[in-house]
Symmetry: C2
Subunit: 136 residues, 2 copies
DNA sequence: GTAGCTGCAAACTCTTTGCAACTCT
DNA sequence: AGAGTTGCAAAGAGTTTGCAGCTAC
């Protein structure tokens, strides 16, 4: 993958200070921040930034597929950079989000879509679970 | 499975006229109606019903697991009766929602969660695709 | 009788947008 | 220079809630 800024320029976006800040925040986030989270982190780097700009920028990045927008049944969106394809397991007790990949799953999904008469364009998979308690 | 009304009574819910109407609407819907949809259909049976009651009832039913709440990335919720476990393929060109089940997928998900150290409690899978065009 | 339910309207949360000023290219 | 971008504040959409009256049990 590579440089977010480069890919934005490629798409014809003007590289403003605010966008640079937001891209920096996204690129250095290891989690799945909400818009509010991105806004707070961005303000740490440039206190004049507005949340409207964060919303607008995230929408743009989503359209460009540079970012993925998640709705984990919380009533708001979370974002993450679209570095690599993976899925999420949400720990119901702690809210922790675990990422995973599974090749078998990928193949199976394409096959299911095909059997239904569809070309698979996109998909979402979320698992919700509780940590297995080891017995002593 | 079976009677929605019975299961509500079992849970200690009072069986009011409005609830009966909403349950009837849900039980006879073959699609995945939004709150607004449920409200409109319910008004056809009892014009005095309010949307606040629809929201409250659907939340209750969701807590009781009698109903499943979906968020198909549209900015609002859709509901369906929790009759049987299945997943959805959303046709990106028409918005049509196709339901499917796949045993292999179910096993795989349990296994993935287990490998990550989790007991699978719930999960969501949505495929987004385009209809395969047959060549003449 | 009374705990629970309802309609109404107001409030809330998340997100989008109109506008005038500003800024990359 | 000029199209695109920004901050602000207001508006929008979807959803929740306080309250007084009503109703199933």
């Amino acid at each position: 993958m590579g440089d977010l800024e480069a890919r934005c320029a490629e798409a014809g976006l003007k590289m403003t200070g605010q966008r640079r800040v937001i891209l920096k925040v996204l690129g250095s986030s290891e989690d799945h921040p909400s818009v509010e989270d991105v806004y707070e982190r961005a303000k740490g780097l440039d206190s004049s930034i507005s949340i409207a700009t964060v919303y607008r920028t995230l929408s743009l990045l989503d359209e460009l597929d540079l970012v993925i927008r998640h709705e984990f049944q919380e009533g708001y969106s979370r974002y993450e950079v679209n570095w690599d394809h993976h899925h999420h397991l949400i720990d119901l007790e702690t809210g922790k989000v675990v990422e995973f990949q599974n090749e078998e799953l990928e193949k199976l999904k394409v096959k299911i879509a095909k059997d239904l008469g569809y070309d698979l364009v996109d998909h979402r998979l979320e698992l919700y679970g509780k940590k297995i308690k080891k017995k002593k």
